[in-house]
Symmetry: C2
Subunit: 102 residues, 2 copies
């Protein structure tokens, strides 16, 4: 007999998933991730694209890096950020598919 364990699975990963969702659930962070979906960006580029303060952008990027959503590498004096996680990429694509059409 095959038990349905999907609820157990969601119970077990609930806290982890919620951290990720919480990170997504901010207009600026979601927008940043939307831009990163199209390619890596420097902090300055993201500041320009999202009309946010440098401080706030930096804080949010560091938070998202800590949470494993983005990664960064140094390129000269620039810090270049990109999406770190394939699951996240698919999740953001789903969000865009479901909620960002028409």
């Amino acid at each position: 007999m095959r038990r349905d364990v999907s609820i157990n699975k969601i119970e077990n990963s609930c806290d982890e998933v919620c951290l990720i969702l919480k990170s997504l659930s901010h207009p600026l962070r979601l927008l940043v991730l939307g831009h990163l979906l199209k390619g890596s960006k420097t902090v300055g580029e993201l500041v320009g694209l999202c009309e946010a303060s440098q401080s706030q952008m930096s804080q949010f990027l560091i938070r998202m890096k800590f949470e494993g959503l983005v990664s960064s590498e140094k390129d000269g004096k620039f810090q270049v950020y990109s999406l770190a996680d394939k699951r996240l990429i698919r999740l953001i694509k789903t969000i865009q598919d479901e909620y960002c059409r028409g």
Copy 2:
């Protein structure tokens, strides 16, 4: 020429989407929605399944109803809640697929 407007789309719907994501990004609410994915439930059933207080469950259900994530109908003295939105159903399924396996 076809311009890529997905970023504009996500900018436009960002606030709306973020409300939904914010609602998802709480362990209890996500768990409730996971249970509702498998069928309608009364408040009491959800309280039992999720080990939450009646008050908190009621508050969260009302919030999610207000936000359009769940719907409810009265059945005798029971209030029966279900998932209200097909997009939400697909989103929760994606979350489970990506983050609740292995």
